[in-house]
């Protein structure tokens, strides 16, 4: 299996079996990000506690990239400090998710990244 094929498999796995999917009852922040181009939607919910992301869940509809990357990002941020999350770089996230995503598909991957970024910034203020 090439690295690309492995990444594709991971995406499909997250898409089929999304982690942290559902309603986060005690969420402190939530946001719905929407890509009108294709209708991809991610509703991201975070429970902040002090300086940390205590829990994160999402629900959504859309293509495999958008939903798998939402699933992946919830795993990535859970337990991290707010500053750590804020230090996450777009390109790093893309390289974790992406097997050579074209520019059109990059937007799908970034939907959940943008949602998290907005929630964290909003909390920090």
């Amino acid at each position: 299996m090439t690295e690309e094929e492995i990444k594709a498999e991971i995406i499909l796995d997250h898409y089929r079996n999304p982690r942290n999917y559902g309603k986060l009852e005690n969420a402190t922040s939530a946001i719905t990000e929407y890509n009108p181009i294709c209708g991809d939607t991610v509703h991201m919910q975070i429970l902040f506690e002090g300086n940390a992301v205590r829990d994160a869940k999402f629900i959504g509809r859309g293509c495999s990239i958008s939903q798998a990357s939402a699933s992946m990002i919830t795993e990535m941020i859970k337990g991290k400090t707010v500053d750590e999350v804020m230090a996450m770089k777009k390109d790093d996230f893309l390289s974790v998710v992406g097997f050579n995503l074209g520019p059109a598909r990059e937007k799908c991957a970034l939907l959940s990244f943008n949602a998290v970024e907005k929630l964290v910034k909003g909390y920090k203020k």
């Binding site: 089929r16 999304p18 999917y21 294709c38 209708g39 629900i59 509809r61 495999s64 939903q67 059109a104």
Partner: protein, 424 residues
């Protein structure tokens, strides 16, 4: 009769990309050598500004530009070239109308569209809400055609304009424009036709159709991007105020105001897309040589074959009328159900996996692209129609003169690949 294999030879993109199966002509078409050569010939023999030059190459350029107008005018059945305004595309043609017709509309006046309209035949009219104009929408039938009953029901004495697409870029349905022209005129409404998906694909005769205006795009009919047309009945066009101001569209200018040039130049402010017009005229020549009846029949055959094969594929949902006679060369589909996001419902279904409802069109297009098949996926600039159909997006394969049954076969093979890739 159309011979796609022979036609393909006129399109160098196919020899440069021998594996390309291009099924996105409803978005934009490929260009034959004849069109590109006409543009190059203009650049290298008589490129110059039109209308005002008193030297040989400028007169040559002006002749080519104005005879392009005449050629395009004839192609759509207009008897007078002054009835064709050059614009950038269908979108600008419709904006020109909304801005200029809009000037004489008042609060309470109504404009009647349909839920299947492209954004370009929706937003410009919605702009007029600012002044109290009411925009109404005729619905579609469960079969995916225009609901004529609903259309007539929504027409009132206040309906000043009826603006409808001739062929839907999603449903593929061919709307009965001749009949609607009569209904609209009996109601003293103007009838505007969005011809973006019909002018390239079937014989068009504006006089017989009896529409008041018709908008179309060059890039969807083998011509260049950046050039389009607005046909308008001469007396109507002639009575419209100008849209943009500037060079070319004036007769006389002083510091205190200006008077306007004759129709259609009144609507063509600034240096026009001369090479674009010449390229579009070459495209029209190319299509005329093929014969627009043949073009339509070819696409009818392809869409008929496609729908027949589609009905044999499990989970393949497709849209628009089942009768190929009423269906243009546009095949819009989904693999499984792809509903729009709904916070309340989706929150309450939290145990349900996201992937349980079919394959998202983006994924379909990506997998197809790996097989070198170019299809479109998304909202196709028809979001309200997506909403109406209860989907977040769809995929679309669309045909033109260079497509063959082999392309359709490759498409269905790829559908299978998509299903395998996303099999649970």
């Amino acid at each position: 009769m159309i011979n796609p294999e022979r036609i393909k030879k006129d399109f160098p993109i196919f020899s440069n990309n021998p594996d390309l199966c291009y099924l996105d002509s409803a978005a934009t078409t490929q260009k034959p050598r004849q069109v590109v050569d006409a543009i190059e010939n203009y650049y290298y023999s008589c490129n110059s500004n039109v209308h005002r030059g008193i030297y040989k190459i400028s007169e040559d350029a002006t002749n080519r530009f104005e005879s392009s107008r005449e050629n395009i005018s004839k192609f759509i059945g207009s008897r007078d070239p002054r009835q064709v305004v050059f614009t950038r595309n269908t979108t600008e043609s419709l904006n020109l109308l909304a801005y200029t017709l809009g000037k004489s509309l008042h609060a309470g006046d109504e404009i009647l569209l349909s839920t299947m309209e492209h954004h370009s035949n929706m937003i410009p009219w919605q702009f007029l809400r600012e002044k109290g104009v009411i925009v109404k929408y005729a619905d579609i039938t469960p079969e995916g055609t225009l609901d004529l009953h609903d259309l007539t029901g929504k027409m009132t004495k206040k309906t000043k304009i009826v603006s409808l697409t001739h062929v839907s870029n999603v449903l593929g349905c061919i709307n009965p424009v001749n009949e609607i022209a009569k209904i609209a005129h009996d109601n003293s409404s103007l009838f505007v036709v969005d011809g973006a998906q019909s002018v390239p694909h079937m014989p068009i005769d504006v006089e017989r159709m009896n529409c008041d205006f018709l908008a179309f795009s060059g890039h969807k009919m083998l011509g260049p991007a950046g050039i389009g047309g607005l046909y308008g009945r001469f007396d109507l066009l002639d009575n419209l105020p100008p849209f943009m101001g500037g060079g070319e569209m004036i007769l006389n200018v002083s510091l205190d105001g200006a008077t306007w040039n004759e129709t259609p130049l009144k609507f063509e402010a600034g240096t026009p897309n001369i090479e674009g017009a010449i390229g579009l005229s070459a495209a029209v020549d190319y299509l005329r040589k093929l014969g627009m009846d043949n073009v339509r029949n070819h696409e009818k055959e392809l869409i008929g074959y496609t729908m027949k094969r589609a009905s044999e594929v499990e989970d393949l949902i497709f849209y628009g009328p089942r009768n190929p006679e009423m269906h243009g060369g546009v095949f819009t589909f989904n693999i499984g159900d792809v509903p729009a996001f709904d916070l309340e419902r989706d929150l309450s279904e939290r145990s349900v996996s996201i992937s349980s409802n079919g394959i998202h069109p983006h994924d379909t297009a990506t997998i197809m692209d790996r097989d070198d098949i170019a299809i479109r996926s998304g909202h196709h600039c028809a979001m309200p129609l997506m909403t109406r159909l209860g989907v977040s997006a769809t995929s679309r394969a669309s045909f033109y003169v260079y497509n063959s049954k082999e392309d359709v076969d490759r498409f269905f093979a790829a559908i299978n690949d998509v299903k395998v890739a996303f099999a649970k």
